[in-house]
């Protein structure tokens, strides 16, 4: 398990070891967080829904 800090509430967010960049994690504080990989480091940012999402 990988532990990261929620960028909104500051509490810890547990991620599975095989988490993928781009995965969305719902945190207890009510925020959806997107996993970002920056030079090998896993970061979390609030999910931004884009109006051009679709199939």
């Amino acid at each position: 398990m990988i532990s990261k800090k929620c960028p909104i509430c500051g509490r810890s967010v547990d991620l599975p070891d095989d988490v993928l960049p781009g995965e969305v994690v719902d945190h207890d504080c009510g925020v959806s967080l997107e996993v970002i990989l920056n030079n090998g480091e896993i970061l979390l940012k609030p999910l931004e829904i884009s109006e051009d999402w679709g199939e």
Binding site: L20, G22, E23, V24, G54, E55
Partner: protein
């Protein structure tokens, strides 16, 4: 060893399933997460990549990242041209029309006055939709002139310039469902009915997925549609009209299939990976 990469922005059920399908074949998936990657124009990311599957959720990211990967000589499925066509309903419907593929009657207007005139020509109710939307978003049903006038007024005051182009379409009286057909290469491996009491039947909007039979006419129509647009992997939305039979409504170049797999028991993710491998070996 073949090198299959998946390029995406948001990792959903589909992207995980595709990655697992690559692993299940004893291969190592190459993951290209757009936000975690720099794309140098004309310079390949990794020489071990033979083919790339485009799976981005954002239309602009899907098209741009495909163009960037193609700039370095990589083959991307679907290719940039077919993605651009499928993202544009006017372009798609124009090509379908030129190929003689049946589709709902559609008029495109660039002003409120002409849109109201178009609706009169088609007869109410009419459907008004954005030329580049998805998941049934901002698709409206106007049962009469006053409702259409209000919808057009709302569109007039939105900032999005694409909302100033009015795609007015006949309302096809569907039998409480439409058909989502999946094309993979020259095959039509699986299809679902999207059943809903609402006139918008997208599963993203609550439509229920049920297995649908694929008759020869549906198979041929789907393949012809995919070839016309240039997509190799597609989800094609088809209406059933009492008088005219099948009508092609939309073509999706990066289709969702999380509802199709459990509804049909068909391993579509493996079929897609099998197709990519067959292209590499050709």
């Amino acid at each position: 060893m073949v090198g299959i990469a998946i390029v995406y922005d948001i990792a959903r059920w589909e992207e995980r399933a595709l990655i697992e399908a690559i692993r299940a074949r004893g291969l190592k998936p190459q993951i290209i997460h757009v936000e975690s990657t720099n794309f140098t124009i004309g310079d390949g990311l990794d020489s071990s990549i033979d083919i790339v599957l485009q799976r981005s959720l954002s239309h602009s990211i899907a098209l741009t990242s495909t163009i960037l990967l193609e700039s370095s000589g990589l083959e991307v499925v679907n290719n940039s041209r077919s993605i651009a066509i499928a993202q544009d309903k006017v372009w798609t419907l124009s090509l379908l029309s030129r190929s003689g593929i049946p589709a709902p009657k559609t008029i495109v207007s660039f002003s409120e006055a002409k849109a109201l005139e178009a609706a009169n020509m088609l007869g109410y109710p009419v459907v008004i939709k954005p030329i580049n939307g998805s998941w049934g978003r901002l698709v409206s049903l106007a049962p009469d002139k006053e409702t259409l006038r209000i919808i057009l007024e709302h569109r007039l005051y939105t900032r999005n310039p694409y909302m100033k182009v009015h795609l007015i379409q006949e309302y096809v009286r569907k039998p409480g469902r439409d058909i989502r057909v999946f094309v993979v290469g020259d095959e039509v491996p699986v299809a679902i009915y999207r059943v809903s009491n609402h006139w918008i039947t997208n599963t993203a909007r609550g439509g229920k997925a049920l297995p649908a039979p694929i008759d020869e006419e549906l198979r041929e129509l789907s393949i012809k549609t995919a070839k016309t647009i240039g997509v190799e992997i597609a989800g094609i939305d088809i209406f059933e009209d009492n008088d005219r039979g099948y009508l092609v409504n939309e073509v999706n170049a990066i289709p969702d299939f999380r509802n199709t797999v459990p509804a049909t028991g068909y391993n579509l993710q493996d079929k897609i990976i099998e197709y990519l491998i067959s292209k590499i070996k050709r």
